[in-house]
Every structure is written in structure tokens, then in C-alpha cells.
Amino acid sequence: MDAKVTILVKDPLSAASLSVAQTEDVWVRDERVLLDGPVSERVAILDVDPDTGRLRDGVPFVAAKGRRKAGWPVDHDDLLHPDRLAVSAFGTVHKALARFESPDALGRKVDWAFDGKQLLVVPRAGRDANAYYERASRSLQFFWFDDVNDPSRRVYTSASQDIVAHEATHAILDGIAPDLYDATTPECLAIHEAVADVATVLLAIDVRDLRDTLIKATGGAMDTADVFSQVALQFATGLGRTGPLRELDNRLGMADVDRTEPHALSVVLSGALFQVLMAMYGELWAQALATHRGSKLQNAHKALVVGADRIKRLLVRGLDYLPPGDSGYADLGRAMLAADEASHPDTPFIRACLVRELVDRGVVPDDAALEVTTDVDGPWGDDLDPDELVASDFVAYELVAAHRAWFGIPDRRTFTVLPRLDVTKTYVYERASKQVREILLKVRWREVEPAGLGTAYPRDRIYRAGCTVAIDPDTCRVRAVLRNNLPAEQAGHAQARTALLRRLDHDGLLAPPAGHGATRAEGVTTRIDDGALVVSGTAALLHVHAPHAGAGGGQTWPI
């Protein structure tokens, strides 16, 4: 069943200042259930009146009839009417899902990281300058606050496509790479933020009216347009800031940011990906112009759409290849390069751009650090039945146990084989596309290192490492093998983990485990396993306020 949904573009302030249509229509497709709310099988809107706590009636679903499309029509002109916010948030979450799951990206449905089928969305969660994804409650929560420049005006975070897309991406990413949510390596949490910001940019480029307007206004010179690179402008200005919440058009390197603060750290990765997007756009535009077909602006339009698609594919498939456990920027870089090489072997331009960005920003010391093992024989020889590997945990464990050294699993260490992913994606070979099946085999194990947190905590702590193997089921050859526990990078990650945990302990956000039970402080949980400290739920910190933190002692706003 399909339904048409009207969603808000960018945010009301940005849309108005650009003189673009403030809404766009998107389709929610192939849903088995569509109900009042809106509610679908995977997303449900729960609109609470923030003053009374009363759950408002859902916006009625209207079925298709004649030429009328199915959907949740809202008559109110007020863009900030609760019904409009509810429908817009629902549509934006589905828009993000569709972009991630499309055949030219993941090629499969995302399973949420929590044990439920529905992501619950609260578009008016309460008064606060915040919004967040929370795995434990299976929800996205969008708050509102009074604009400091005009206290009579409320800023609804659910009215911002940027913010809704950002938070929805956290939930989607948690479904793709759930270990990032519990990681203690700051770069893992920063990947969450960076991916969410880049997804926001890609969804904004997807808005035709916005794209057309900007290309016309700039003559195609996108490096002069800051709309796409600026995240959550209205949110930031509503708080009295002069710029956006985060600026992706940056040249920041690892040495320029606090490597233990995920939001600050995230702009290095999101900045790198944004620059790759701009480079890809420039290259595609130049190629299109060289053909002397179409107008300059038509070519710019096409280059931007295709470039954004390439970045989406690079990023989303890279995330699918990401090894389980604590993966950092370099791990994601290698995963993206491997995934892109598999889908676009004949067009290395984007990979060269990505390597340059990651080296220039100090993510890795040199190109060699991003080299990935691809297209090799697996250690299993002919002894592999891919369908059995997918279907049978026993077969999968037997396979990994027999070749544990090849996977990188230390001796005598227990390991977990995750459910295999059997996916069919659209691949591009020499400018033609075809459907390619692929099996992703992921293995995770635990590593122990000194906790470094003083006598209140166990002496050692646990972090998780892993390996992803992409297998061609037709040949049983290995398309790529990615391991994230590389000795050359672990020393730096260990230091960063210690610094992050000490900071959390200092700030009262981490509490020593109490006996055999788990202890929770501000969403972060600690427990003892085999005498070592296990920390989980660290991603909850991405939405906690620090009243005295930030430059000049001001607030940090952790969307």
C-alpha cells in the first residue's frame, strides 16, 4: 500500500529565506499497514499535548479513492499545527528509510536495533532545545523551545527536516551497525553524528525545489551555497547563535578538535564526506558539460543528484561493511573504499577524493593505511555452501572456528557470529547496472585492556572488536575483508577510550558497577563481566545537556 505524505522542507526559517516551497510531497511505499496517527508497520506517531500530557487523537488516514491518493491530509494552513508536525515527522522518517534501503544503497530493509517492530515518534515531546533517538524506548523524541529572538515564537524541532532526518538516521544507523551505540571509542559515537549530518544533507539535496532554486541562484557554483552544508539553522538561531548548529563545509582535521567529544569530533568526518560530495559534483558536472548536451544548469542539476547518490552509496554500503565492535574513522574509510570498489570498480575518482580527505585531515597517516584486502580466495577453499552459511548458525560457527586466525580472532577467545546478511544490491559496472547478490559474514569478539579508572572500578575493561567478510555467493570468493582491531590504530583508540571514560566518570555520567548488577547513570550502564568493566549505552550521551559546558561556558546543544 502506498500513501502520499506532505512534509516540511529544511526548516520554516530556511525555507522562507530561500523563497522555496515550504513543503514537499513524498511517498510512503509498500507498507502493509497504514493507520490513523500516522502509523505504519515500522513507524508510529504519538503526539502528546505537552501541557496536559494527553495523547492527541491521531491524524485520520484517508484511503485512496478514484483519483484521490491515500494519505493523511491536513487542512490547517499553519505549518506548525500539531497535525502537520505529526504527518511531516512521519513522512520524513519514511523518506530517510527509503533512501537508505533503496536497491542502489543497502538493498534490504533495515531491522531496528531494538526488540520491536515500530519506531515510536513523539513530535512534541516537551520543552527543551533538543531531540534524540533512544534505543531503550524505541523512540525519537522531538522537543520545542521558545525562540530567544522572539519568545512568542516556538521552535519545534519536529518542524525541521534536518533534525528529523538526523534523528531518524541515528535509528537507522543503529539498525545497521548496532555496536556503535554501546561503543566507548569516541570515534564510534562521532560516526553516529557525522552520518546523521551527512544524511541530512543528502535528504535536502533530494528536495527538487530546493535544489533547483539553489542551482539557479548560484549558477551551479555549489561551493558558494551554504544551505546544504548547514545543519539545523533555525534551531541554532532560535538559541541566539549566528550560524548553523554544525557547518559541514569545513577543513577541520583531527588535531583541531576535541577527540573525546563526539559532536566536535564528528565534523571532521562529515566535513570530509561533504568535500568528497562537492568534488564528485564538480567532476560529474565537468564531464556532463564536456558532452555538450543539455544546458549548463540542467547538467548541474543532474550532477548534483548523481553525486549525492554516489555519496549515499559510498556511505551506506560502507556502513554495511563496517566490522562489528568499536570501529573508528579509518575502519569506516576502509569499509567505504571496499564497498565502492565493488560497486564502481571503473570509477576510482570518488575513492581518490576520500583517501585524500582522510589523509589530509589526519584520520590516517598515509594512503597505505586505507588499503583493504579485496577479491581474494577465502580460507575455506571449495568447502563452503553459501546458502547453508546464511541459514545455519552451526555452519557459520564451524566455518569461523576453523579459520579463526584468518578472521583475526585471538587464541582461546570466544566469539559471536552475527546473523548473516544476504543482500541483493544494484551494482554499477562500466556504466551499466546489474543486480548483485552478496553475503556479509560478521564476527565479533571481546578485547580486554586496562580500565584506567581508579579503584572504584574493575582494573580491566572490555571493548569489542570484529571482522566483516563480504562473500560472492556465486564464486565463494571474498570481495572484501575488514578487521577493525589494527594494532597501529588501537593505541590511539585506547587512549581516547580512557579519556572519554575518565571524563564521564568525572562528570558523574558513569558510575561504578554495583556488585553483580548493572548500574545506570544518565543512560550509560556499567556492569562487571569476567571481572572486567563493561560499559554500554554511551550513545545516550549524545543528547544530555551540560549546563556549564561549551565555549565561553555556554550551553552545548546535543542534537
Binding site: P50, S137, G553
Partner: protein, 398 residues
């Protein structure tokens, strides 16, 4: 030779401690000097019975026996530590109403540094953080009615205890209590000019002058979906909308209420960690009065290297699990084995049926396991009228 005596009063859920010290001057003349610490209890429930204040103050006056009170210490700005003296001054017997200051004749008062009138100007970061806490307190008070009915009593108690307006009124009274008021912190030079003692010496272990570090982070405040307000408005708090699983709905309801609890606890914790923690050393004995310092403050004291063994401990924060630090820190204060043969005593001033997990038997056990005699005010007879007073008295020979 006279003894040092410590009276820990049964004041319901709060603190009231009197220390009597035979203090010998350079000429060998011994004078009984006195320190009174706090006097207060919570504002509601069984632990907040105001009837205890007047007999405590009368007992203090009887011990003073006409002598001035040399030192009053306000550990921190919570009602269960500050409201007793202002209450008696306002509502006590005819001889006490508007006469507490005169009757006690306090020479010196130590108030926690962050209660100083010029504190905000000197520590703007701390002021900004404290203001944020006050705003959050107001927001929580506004949303209290959205909590499920079975949770409101507990959180109401904590909201009242942290009410900045009420504590502000009490602190204003205490700022005017003594002839000389000092705002103290670690690093404060506690010489005789600040307390009047000749023989006994004092050390300030906590808090820091700049307490901004203690003001923690807040979670977004989300409520609703349940509670009386929702029911009154016609919504069923138990029924999820059509198409939403009931268990998912319930988890969401519970998760949304945690922001309220976490933020109120953060406010409470911050104030506790601004507690004045000080030692009184006298003739080989070391007494430690820890206010309501929580683990964070203890960690800072450890980091600053001020901790050392003591013979008497006023257990922090009414014996809660978060007022007594982990064994690594506790070992510095109550080492095993003890450094000398003198007996060691710890006293908990507490009361049941006020907060969950207080008293906290595992914490009591940890203290007892260190070879310490443990006393608790819950073991004292409860006074229900204004005619009697109950206390534990610890006597240390000179």
C-alpha cells in the same frame, strides 16, 4: 581532665550536631567551646516533623549554659540542613521567637562558599550553572502533576528540599546569625580568627571555591502519556493507540519519566557536593564532619590529597549509598588496620520512610566491617512533642 563530647540529635531526616570541646589556651586555661553544625530536616512526610527543632535548640542552650556559641557551620544549602534555626526563630516558644540569634550569641559562622552574596560575580561559570539548575527546578515543579500518582510524594519531598526560594530565605537568616560570617572552602585558612578556638584545630577538605564542576548535565525533560492529568483529560493512560504494541508503549511511558527523576537527582547531588567537609583535631583525636558530600566530592578530596585517618565520622548524606565513597577512598579515612589503638566511631543521622534505600544496610555493613562502632539516629527513641530531645553522645577523653 574534661572530655570532648559530640551530640548527634535525632531530628528526623536531617542533621543537627553539637560538639563540646575543652579548649586550653596558651596560658593553660581551659574553656568549654562549642560548634553547632546545621539543624534542619526535610519539609514533608515523616522525616520532616518540625516539632524536633525547639527541643534541640533548648538543649543546645542548656549545654552552652550562658556561654556563646563559638562556631556555627552550615554545610550546604538544603532544607534538611538549614531550616531548623530559622524555624525556631519564627515559630519557637515565646522566649525563642525572634531571639534565636541573641540567645545563641554566635561568634563565628562558616557557610559553604557558594552561598556568599558575591559568589556569582567571582565565579560566573558556577553562577550560570546554578541558575540553570534553578530553572530546571522550576520546570520540574511545573511538571510534577504529570507524574503518576504513586511517584509524586517522593519527588515532591526532593523538590521541596531543593527549593531555591525557601533555602534562600533560610540562608539569609544564617548569614546574619553570627558576629562574623565566613564563606569557607578548601584552601580557606581556618585559623583562630575564624573560629575562636585556641587548642583545637580545623581543616577544610571540601568544597572547592569554584563549585561549577559539581553542576551536572541534564536529560531532556519529557513527560505526559500517563498520570492523572492524562486520565482527567479523557485519555486512557494504559491504552496505546491502535497499531502500537502495548509493551512498546509502556516502555516509552517509563522512559519519558526518567528525565524528571534524573534531573532532580542531579540538582540534589550538586548541592550535596557543595557540602562543607571539615575536620576538628584535638588532643590526638581527629573528627570528620562530612555534611552530605557525595562520591564526586570524595573523589575530589582524594585527588587533592587531603584525606587522612579519623577517629570520628559524621557519615555523609544520612547513610545513603552515594554518600560513602568506595573502599579505595574509605581506606584513607577509616583504614584497616587502624593506625592507632583509639576507638573509632561513625554516626549516621537519618530516618526511614523518607527516601528509598536510606538507611542503606550495605553501607552500614561497609563501615562496621572496618572495625568502626556504628551509631544511627534511627535507633533513638522518637520524640513526638516539644518537651524532650534524643541524641547519641560520643565521648572522647582528653
Amino acid at each position: 581532665m574534661a572530655d570532648l563530647k559530640i551530640r548527634v540529635y535525632e531530628c528526623r531526616f536531617g542533621d543537627a550536631v553539637l560538639v563540646q570541646v575543652p579548649d586550653r589556651d596558651a596560658a593553660g586555661v581551659e574553656t568549654l567551646r562549642h560548634v553547632l553544625i546545621d539543624v534542619g530536616n526535610v519539609l514533608s512526610g515523616d522525616g520532616g516533623d518540625d516539632v524536633v527543632f525547639e527541643p534541640i535548640v533548648r538543649d543546645v542552650l542548656e549545654v552552652l549554659d550562658g556561654a556563646p556559641l563559638d562556631l556555627y557551620v552550615m554545610t550546604h544549602e538544603h532544607m534538611d540542613h538549614v531550616q531548623g534555626l530559622p524555624w525556631v526563630d519564627k515559630k519557637g516558644g515565646a522566649d525563642l521567637t525572634e531571639a534565636v540569634k541573641a540567645r545563641l550569641d554566635v561568634r563565628h559562622a562558616w557557610l559553604t562558599a557558594s552561598s556568599a552574596p558575591d559568589y556569582g560575580a567571582r565565579f560566573p561559570d558556577a553562577k550560570r550553572a546554578m541558575d540553570a539548575h534553578d530553572r530546571m527546578h522550576a520546570a520540574l515543579a511545573r511538571q510534577l502533576h504529570l507524574l503518576p500518582a504513586d511517584q509524586t510524594a517522593r519527588w515532591t519531598r526532593m523538590l521541596l528540599n531543593n527549593n531555591p526560594r525557601d533555602t534562600g530565605d533560610c540562608v539569609a537568616f544564617l548569614q546574619q546569625l553570627a558576629a562574623h560570617t565566613h564563606y569557607v572552602h578548601r584552601g580557606f585558612v581556618a585559623d583562630a580568627s575564624t573560629h575562636g578556638f585556641a587548642e583545637a584545630t580545623f581543616e577544610l577538605w571540601a568544597p572547592e571555591a569554584d563549585t561549577s564542576d559539581y553542576y551536572g548535565r541534564f536529560r531532556p525533560l519529557a513527560l505526559g502519556l500517563t498520570g492523572e492529568a492524562a486520565a482527567a483529560a479523557g485519555a486512557s493512560p494504559q491504552a496505546p493507540p491502535r497499531g502500537v504494541a502495548a509493551c512498546d508503549w509502556q516502555d516509552l511511558v517509563e522512559a519519558r519519566s526518567t528525565g524528571f527523576a534524573d534531573n532532580l537527582l542531579a540538582i540534589d547531588k550538586a548541592r550535596n557536593n557543595t557540602s562543607v567537609v571539615f575536620t576538628l583535631a584535638w588532643r590526638g583525636w581527629t573528627l570528620l564532619f562530612a555534611g552530605d558530600a557525595e562520591v564526586r566530592s570524595w573523589k575530589t578530596m582524594q585527588r587533592e590529597g587531603v584525606l587522612r585517618p579519623v577517629h570520628f565520622l559524621k557519615v555523609s548524606h544520612h547513610g545513603s549509598h552515594n554518600g560513602t565513597p568506595d573502599d579505595g577512598i574509605l581506606q584513607a579515612v577509616l583504614p584497616v588496620p587502624p593506625p592507632d589503638a583509639r576507638p573509632r566511631t561513625a554516626v549516621i543521622s537519618t530516618c526511614g520512610a523518607t527516601y528509598n534505600d536510606i538507611p542503606h544496610p550495605p553501607t552500614n555493613s561497609r563501615l562496621v566491617d572496618r572495625g568502626v562502632q556504628l551509631l544511627s539516629t534511627v535507633d533513638l527513641p522518637r520524640r513526638t512533642d516539644a518537651t524532650g530531645v534524643a541524641f547519641h553522645e560520643v565521648v572522647l577523653p582528653g
